[in-house]
């Protein structure tokens, strides 16, 4: 048995960790939550920040934009990754490892460097842009990197490798025998995927989608590096409420941050619910 003194020593050893976590994780989060329910300049409790955030067209649009770009980039990312990850499982182990390693590397290629790469590629003076102009191809004339389509394209870039890495293992959850059993019972390949394959990997797909969605909801660096504060995205709006280290409207920023977090949680919850409808075997 431990003596009381020993126990106190052990607790003492936990002290530094507790302080840092309190100071930089728990208290800031709490402060932010409380702030979001306060009037400007912290004067009394109020829901006015949420009213501003959700009543103001500008902020509402930012929320909508964030949700839309997150939804679309996640959707495109996951569809591409579903295909790619499946094809990867069909390659020889050597090539497979190489491809996975490359995906792993590119999954680190996000934020400022990624935005920069796309600017030299497709920006106003981008190599492809100019090249296509000279060749007289007009596929890119209507394309603008600094538009929503452009931003979505860049977001998709950082979604795909992440999605591949997350989805790839779920395919190994499909036993070869299920395919064989299904084919003996008269199911076509399509029917196998519809009734067994897809439902089986669905939890993995949904979980991945939630991560991708959260990933792009919170993404700041990529959009900021492309056009500074010009995109009306929620993360950018929050960031632009800071001016250096002074903080004109901390309560409003807090409410927006809460809404951002809330959206991510809501999306996760929604995904989970839809998944349970299909997979009733999972409690």
């Amino acid at each position: 048995m431990q003596t009381f003194k020993q126990k106190r020593m052990l607790l003492l050893a936990l002290f530094p960790f507790v302080i840092v976590v309190l100071g930089f994780e728990i208290l800031p989060l709490l402060a932010m939550m409380l702030d979001s329910f306060k009037a400007d300049e912290g004067q009394g409790w109020s829901l006015m920040q949420y009213a501003t955030a959700l009543g103001n067209k500008y902020y509402l649009l930012a929320l909508k934009n964030s949700i839309l770009i997150s939804f679309y980039s996640s959707l495109i990312g996951i569809v591409a990754a579903l295909l790619a990850a499946y094809s990867i499982t069909k390659l020889s182990p050597k090539v497979r490892n190489l491809v996975l390693m490359f995906s792993n590397m590119t999954s680190n290629f996000a934020g400022v460097p990624l935005a920069f790469a796309y600017i030299i590629l497709l920006g106003n003076n981008g190599i492809f842009t100019i090249l296509f102009q000279q060749l007289g191809w007009d596929v890119l004339t209507s394309f603008n990197l600094y538009s929503w389509t452009g931003l979505t394209l860049v977001y998709v870039y950082f979604q795909i490798p992440l999605a591949i890495l997350l989805l790839y293992p779920t395919y190994f959850g499909i036993h070869e025998q299920w395919k064989e059993a299904a084919s003996l019972l008269g199911a076509s390949r399509l029917q196998f995927w519809r009734y067994i394959g897809m439902p089986v990997i669905l939890p993995g797909v949904v979980g991945t989608f939630s991560i991708l969605f959260a990933n792009s909801m919170g993404a700041y660096a990529t959009a900021y590096a492309l056009v500074g504060s010009n995109y009306n995205l929620l993360a950018i709006r929050i960031g632009s409420l800071f001016a250096g280290d002074v903080f004109p409207r901390p309560e409003l920023a807090s409410a927006l941050a809460m809404i951002l977090g809330g959206t991510m949680i809501a999306a996760m919850w929604l995904n989970e619910r839809m998944m349970r409808r299909v997979r009733r075997d999972l409690r």
């Binding site: 064989e180 059993a181 084919s183 003996l184 008269g186 199911a187 089986v200 075997d281």
Partner: protein
């Protein structure tokens, strides 16, 4: 013509020959067992019958129809896998009804059929359970029902009981046989367990290295192994070459290359005095080197004339006189020496 006729079937994987010009036939309604050591090609044979493993040579006829090049779903063959292969996202009812649903039947149309099948395999009350909520034995029954409900021409079972523990396994053997008789469905059962094969089958095909080495009913296979491989695999036979047997018996003429003697037919007698053997046979002096008890059987290792023999006796009070390192007389009945090809 037999109901199922397999001719000259050959299948290779890279450099291993899984099926080597294999031929066999059996009749409608028979319970046939493929018996052989692991890796001898049993699963490959089943899978080629089902159409899951394309073969390079040979043909498969069922009921006079050549099915060699048909797709699995067009063969009307059911298969139960060793690890069941149940669909995890479907209930027992949905698993069993899956094949009928794929035929385009509505739930209301196939439900009655599925219910009857659930009764047959004794799973009433589990209709809405998911596979992960069932025991291994129950999962196996679902897999069986899922195949049976399709009323296949042949039911293939690939070591269906080997993942279960001994007791459930014995019960399911009996169950399986009951169901098979009730539906009189032609069944091919795969196992590497000779005891299981001997209890359950109408007919046994013993396989080795991608070939059938002997076929016959359990009695024939057990009492008259065709060669040394079968003798050793089926019953722990003592296999002796002719000159070894000659040395042991001190004479006698043995025409075949080698002989198999079942361990339970060899009798032991006290060295001096006591009862004498009767009938036609040979008596040789020997020494008990080891005794092991395996439940109801006592297993002696006896050395005689430099030959080691395994002797199995029922564990009764009559055996008490035999001790380790004791000198004994070994009696080998002549009619029990099975000549091997």
């Amino acid at each position: 013509m037999s109901y199922v006729q397999i001719d000259n079937l050959t299948k290779t994987y890279k450099d291993t020959i899984a099926l080597n010009h294999l031929s066999l036939t059996f009749d409608k309604g028979e319970f046939v067992t493929l018996l052989g050591p692991s890796g001898c090609g049993k699963s490959t044979l089943l899978r080629s019958i089902a159409g899951l493993a394309p073969t390079e040579e040979g043909s498969i006829h069922v009921d006079g129809v050549d099915i060699t090049h048909l797709k699995p779903k067009d063969r009307e063959i059911g298969m139960v896998f060793q690890s069941y292969g149940l669909f995890p996202n479907m209930t027992v009812l949905e698993n069993i009804g899956f094949g009928l649903r794929m035929k385009g039947m509505k739930k209301s149309e196939y439900e009655g059929k599925v219910k009857r099948m659930i009764e047959l395999v004794d799973l009433v009350g589990k209709e809405q359970s998911y596979p992960h909520q069932l025991s291994g034995g129950q999962q196996q029954r679902v897999a069986l029902a899922r195949s049976l409900v399709m009323e296949p021409k042949i039911l293939l079972l690939d070591e269906p009981l080997s993942a279960l523990d001994a007791k459930i396994r014995k019960n399911l053997q009996v169950e399986l046989r009951r169901i098979q008789r009730e539906l009189s469905i032609t069944t091919v059962f795969v196992t590497h367990d000779q005891e299981e094969a001997l209890t359950i089958s109408d007919r046994i095909f013993v396989m080795d290295l991608g070939n059938i080495v002997q076929s016959g009913n359990p009695e024939e296979i057990y009492t008259h192994p065709a060669n040394e491989f079968v003798a050793r695999f089926i019953g722990n036979y003592n296999v002796l070459r002719a000159e070894q047997l000659r040395q042991l018996t001190g004479g006698g003429s043995f025409a075949a290359v080698s002989y198999a003697i079942r361990p339970e037919v060899i009798q032991l007698f006290p060295e001096h005095a006591g009862p004498e053997p009767s009938g036609n046979g040979w008596l040789a002096a020997g020494k008990v080197k080891d005794i092991t008890v395996t439940g109801n059987v006592l297993r002696y290792l006896v050395e005689s004339q430099d030959q080691r023999l395994q002797v199995d006796h029922l564990n009764t009070a009559k055996e008490l006189w035999i001790q380790r390192d004791m000198n004994v007389n070994v009696w080998i009945p002549a009619e029990e020496c099975v000549p091997l090809g």
